[in-house]
Symmetry: C2
Subunit: 494 residues, 2 copies
């Protein structure tokens, strides 16, 4: 393996900085064109990509093919979002020279790239949250050159993807340093990047430990920089009594399916289910135990992930008041065997270790007796990417206090469903209160993810000929603009 | 003076937390109504407010009256911005149950308040950036209860303003703890607030020292929270040769007027002017010297500000290569006497002390000889709230590299004008790259300031009857919404 050296990183960043000045001058239309070229190049990648990724991550080819299609869709939909002005909304206030007591100047606000963005790849999504994933696509959409730090668990996949991105950039006629690829042994390169004066923002998807370390490094810089770290969560599922009563068996089967999907290796995996102690509780529990026991163990992403799964699971199930309900058989320490345990409300609320994320197919059933119990459980939760409520519609209406409290803790709240499956669309919020993410005001999925890497700049009293295209009187890009408080696509006639 | 104790702060925050759950359930229309009531109450304040503020800050009554009107306008325009959906833009993607390979869920994204916001007041704007100022208005617009830490330099003004806000809240029928007022001796209360687990965001306007200290405290919390600190800057003015040649006398007079406006106590004060060494340079300099010498010194905001002005000015003018060009006479150490000094490009670029902000009526002329000089000066700058270019239109077109570089360093870029005067409108960007502000992606002035204190939350597959009003199929609030990628005010028909 040829690792990137720090002097090489310096050179990559210096070139990227030159390209930043070039990208600043491109219009949203030109950046959208670039992004479609990159999407084409990724789309054209064939079996080599899928098989390499399969070998490096143990993920099935069918799942990887879907993830690749999603990755391509991210590039295209983010490109459309900037090109239409739906994201990075332009604001224009025209002058009022006769206003009293002072004239109002002409002010026009657009967005500039924050600067070079460093992206850290996720082990569990080699395409969609990695080299050519959502962070890279949204940073380039904002006009930022990107330096990707490849994930050590899927370097070859990363190299292939980097090649496609480079080809797309070349085809579009953009300078190569829009995108750079760093291969690292250990953590030093990553830390060097986050502390480098030319790097102005960071995108990260992974563990709390990894994300928080980078966040702290970035805040300690002489010039602190924004770090968007998506660090996962336990994604609690609250079940209300009438819904449990309606079909305990089906709920248990569906929960087990969501919990064990992809060997539980999703940051939205529903690791905790809060279930009322009513007569149907036993049937729910029996079905869950049976279904989980019958799940075949499967290879996890890599040795480190598997090791952590078994260690963290052990730490939880050996806590006082926690008992194992069911555990699928396992003969391979690199595989994740589905496991569910059970505990009570008091134990969950008072012992923080019990509520910690176990990345993998591990579920914890928390039994509760009353609405007050459920509220206490919700209150004890840390920030989550998602939370889910299973309830009859009327029942949910009667439990608004609980549901309000749950929504306080998460970025996405699901009704009678499961959180695995993160749709790429405008209405997606993938993020949440700390520690699910480092900044709950942003999403890392959907076109609004672009907002993480753009900063507004106002132009005051500039001649029309010198303004960026999106701010000129003539709306040649045909984007949505807020002109004197009204959304419009009209030209401005002064 | 009755100072607030820490146990009292705890109680205020506990009550505010209860109100947060109440505010979460209010619609944007209801919050807008509350804000207009507060605006009414502030508007109704009369001479007592103005005279108290005048006594505490030495600011003239006429200026204070304008600032009060601006403050009222902030409440009203931010109220309208949330009520129309122009800020906190709702996104809706309806379900595609038959999509392959997997159905698409119904997703609807709105905004929740981040939680209790603590606001620190500015010494130089007792109304517009203080107790009832832009931070408070934008936090309440986002649905956040606010705890204001009064500025020690204008506590009585703050008390009067807090009374008006309380009256407005009562009139609107909202709970009192939407707004709380803390009076502090020293810094302990402020630090306690920023570190309190119930506080979820901070707004600050003031010095670099103050803002950075609070920022660092907030990042060291177990749960880091966003701090938007606007910390001022030197707001460089770049003059290009043809423009100087056109009218050196008028430019010097206008610059002096902007520099000394309000005893130079604006965060947008143009503390540095970069002027080409052409024959007209001498006339520019002579006029500037004469105008500045003739400026009457005036009382600064308070003793601390005046002391810092004289100390910091002294530190700059005693640097090697810096010489005083003109200094208005002064007999009162509490007054700020306008002063201009001059230095050369090399000295400016290599000695960071020379480029430091001197808060008050102090200007530094930096002489340059070539476009390369001007580029080097621009490159050496830290992040700025504003930067200004004086140029003929054609000349500016010929200097795009320089202007691009300047825009890279600031939040607002002005053409042939001066940065003092911060318009309250959608297109305003008041903020900028660090150290002008702690997060360049947000503004503290204009309706978009609300975005600092709101976080998106997605509702997945919720029954229409249980959705927040702004997300229901029927668009009863008549707000702009992005529905299936298109901006519309239409109802949704499924």
């Amino acid at each position: 393996m040829q690792y990137t050296t720090m002097p090489e990183i310096d050179k990559l960043l210096q070139k990227a900085q030159e390209v930043l000045m070039f990208l600043k001058k491109t219009t949203v239309t030109e950046r959208a064109r670039l992004m479609h070229h990159i999407a084409d190049a990724i789309e054209a990648l064939g079996e080599e990509l899928l098989l390499t990724a399969q070998q490096e991550t143990n993920l099935p080819v069918a799942r990887l093919a879907t993830e690749k299609a999603r990755t391509v869709f991210q590039w295209r939909s983010y490109a459309d979002a900037v090109a239409t002005g739906n994201v990075l909304a332009v604001r224009i206030d025209t002058a009022l020279p006769n206003r009293m007591p002072a004239p109002k100047p002409d002010l026009r606000k657009t967005y500039l790239p924050v600067g070079i963005v460093t992206v850290f790849c996720a082990s569990n999504f080699p395409f969609a949250y990695s080299t050519g994933g959502g962070d890279t696509a949204s940073a380039i959409a904002a006009g930022c050159p990107v330096v990707v730090n490849a994930h050590s668990a899927h370097v070859q996949t990363s190299v292939i993807m980097a090649g496609a991105i480079a080809a797309g950039i070349e085809k579009a006629g953009f300078p190569a340093s829009v995108f750079s690829h760093v291969i690292s042994e250990g953590f030093e390169n990553g830390q060097y990047l986050v502390q480098h004066p030319l790097v102005k923002a960071v995108g990260f998807t992974g563990s709390y430990m990894g994300g928080k370390t980078l966040y702290d490094l970035a805040q300690k810089r002489a010039e602190p920089i924004p770090v968007f770290a998506e660090m996962g969560s336990v994604n609690p599922v609250f079940v209300l009594p009438k819904k449990l009563k309606a079909d305990p068996k089906k709920l248990a089967e569906q929960y087990a399916a969501s919990l064990t999907l992809g060997v539980g290796q999703f940051c939205t995996n529903p690791g905790i289910i809060i279930v009322p102690d009513i007569p149907e509780f036993d049937l729910f529990l029996d079905t869950l135990a049976t279904t989980v026991t019958e799940t075949s163990p499967a290879m996890m992403l890599h040795k480190g992930i598997a090791g952590s799964y078994h260690k963290n699971k052990q730490a939880t199930i050996t806590q006082p008041g926690v008992s194992v309900l069911a555990e699928a058989a396992n003969t391979n320490e690199l595989a994740g065997n589905a496991t569910v345990a059970i505990t009570g409300k008091d134990n969950f609320v008072h012992n923080k270790t019990v509520a910690h994320e176990v990345f993998g197919p591990f579920g914890l059933v928390v039994k509760y007796h009353s609405t007050e119990d459920a509220i206490a459980i919700a209150q004890s939760l840390e920030g989550q990417l998602t939370a889910t409520v299973w309830a009859e519609t009327e029942e949910a209406g009667d439990n608004r206090e609980l549901i309000n409290l749950i929504s306080e803790k998460c970025g996405r709240i699901i009704f009678n469903g499961f959180p695995t499956g993160v749709e790429v669309c405008y209405a997606m919020q993938h993020g949440g209160p700390f520690p699910a993410a480092t900044d709950s005001r942003f999403t890392s999925v959907g076109p609004d993810a672009i907002q993480r890497f753009a900063r507004p700049v106002s132009f005051q009293n500039w001649p029309d000929s010198l303004l960026p295209a999106e701010l000129k009187n003539e709306n040649s890009l045909q984007i949505w603009r807020t002109v004197n408080n009204e959304l419009t696509k009209e030209h401005i006639v002064l």
